[in-house]
């Protein structure tokens, strides 16, 4: 794991797998969008509204996974001081916030016709809203200090503290009475059980795969440009230093 802490090593691997991730993302989206939004059958009680679920569940899956990645990277940054882990966490945060917002909005659009309300303060919805605030707080805190290293540390601590919310979101529908339905997938001894018919589960899996690949492809792009920006900054600084040495200030 520690060898990925070296930016050059990391980017060599990331650049090598990037075309594969991006290609897979395109293929999955090309399959998922028509199947999920047009060709899959409607649901027996929701009708066509079920198609919102494909976007909703995929976004919700990513908002959880990305927060997990941010929390793990924050721990690595705090414990081993790997700057690469910090970069990965910071690059992931806006994407996580976006998918969290998407999950909230698609859920509300689905809730109005199905439940009869956009919003209730049940445990699942409230904890998801808290996750959104954690994302926003993380982004704001990491940029709130003059000294960027202090901001990195403060944000990493916030990310770790907030990681408690992830299992709460996941289990909220089991621990408390909620309006939100229970999980549609349950891990059991024989693998993953689902109460979703295969004809509706296939488009969901395709969409989740496409979303996941999209995130990883964007992450590589963001890290690449982040590292290049750092290189440019360093080059500029040394240029200015050289300039200043050669020519005293006017």
């Amino acid at each position: 794991m520690h060898k990925f802490a070296n930016p050059t090593q990391f980017m060599r691997i990331a650049n090598a797998i990037y075309p594969w991730i991006a290609g897979l993302c395109l293929i999955l989206f090309a399959a998922a969008i028509p199947i999920a939004l047009v060709f899959s059958p409607p649901d027996y009680q929701q009708g066509e509204t079920v198609r919102i679920m494909y976007i909703h569940v995929s976004s919700a899956w990513l908002m959880m996974m990305i927060y997990g990645i941010i929390a793990a990277n924050s721990a690595m940054f705090l414990i081993w001081r790997h700057p690469m882990a910090n970069l990965a966490a910071r690059a992931s945060a806006p994407m996580g916030a976006t998918f969290c917002a998407l999950a909230l909005v698609t859920g509300m659009l689905w809730g109005q016709p199905m439940w009869g309300t956009f919003w209730v303060w049940d445990a699942r919805l409230t904890s998801t809203l808290i996750l959104f605030f954690l994302y926003i707080g993380y982004i704001a805190l990491s940029d709130a200090f003059e000294d960027s290293e202090r901001g990195d540390k403060a944000a990493a601590i916030l990310a770790l503290v907030g990681s408690i919310n992830v299992p709460i979101i996941h289990y909220s529908v089991e621990w408390w009475n909620t309006l939100h339905q229970p999980s549609i997938m349950k891990a059991s001894s024989e693998g993953i059980d689902s109460s979703v018919h295969p004809s509706l589960l296939l488009p969901l899996f395709l969409m989740m795969g496409a979303f996941t690949m999209f995130y990883f492809a964007l992450l590589v792009l963001r890290l690449r440009s982040e590292l290049l920006a750092a290189k440019i900054r360093n080059a500029r600084l040394s240029q200015i230093a050289g300039h200043a040495a050669a020519q005293p200030a006017e």
Partner: protein, 150 residues
Amino acid sequence: MTRKRRRLYFVLLGLLALSGGLALVLTAFEDNIVLFFSPTEVAAKPVCAQRCRIGGLVANGSVVKEGERVSFDVTDTVETVSVKYVGILPDLFREGQGVVAEGKMTEGIFVANNVLAKHDENYMPPEVADALKKSGRWKEGEPVPVAVVH
């Protein structure tokens, strides 16, 4: 102990303490976190003297509609609460389906001013639902046996 080791233990211990504390808080506030009470809880505790929400299944054969006036029973198969409501019901509302009603207990009847439908975790095409019902392997409102769907 190296500094890295010490930081690792500090992070682990911090997370452990935090989740322990939070678990106590969440347990203590359980009655405030649940969105609704079941008819059994309503019967056992005076939880609905003030405004509250109750939830359960709409009892089969209990729905009576007169224009916008509706009355139905909410059941958790042990206890049942009679509900009165005036207003528009959500699309998913029907007998055997999960429901959450917001209102107040008055003289043994729950007077609701808002009714929400609870959606279950079963998703399938209409043809599959019809086939399952026809073969008698599943009734609406019951959980779909996973083995049947696959």
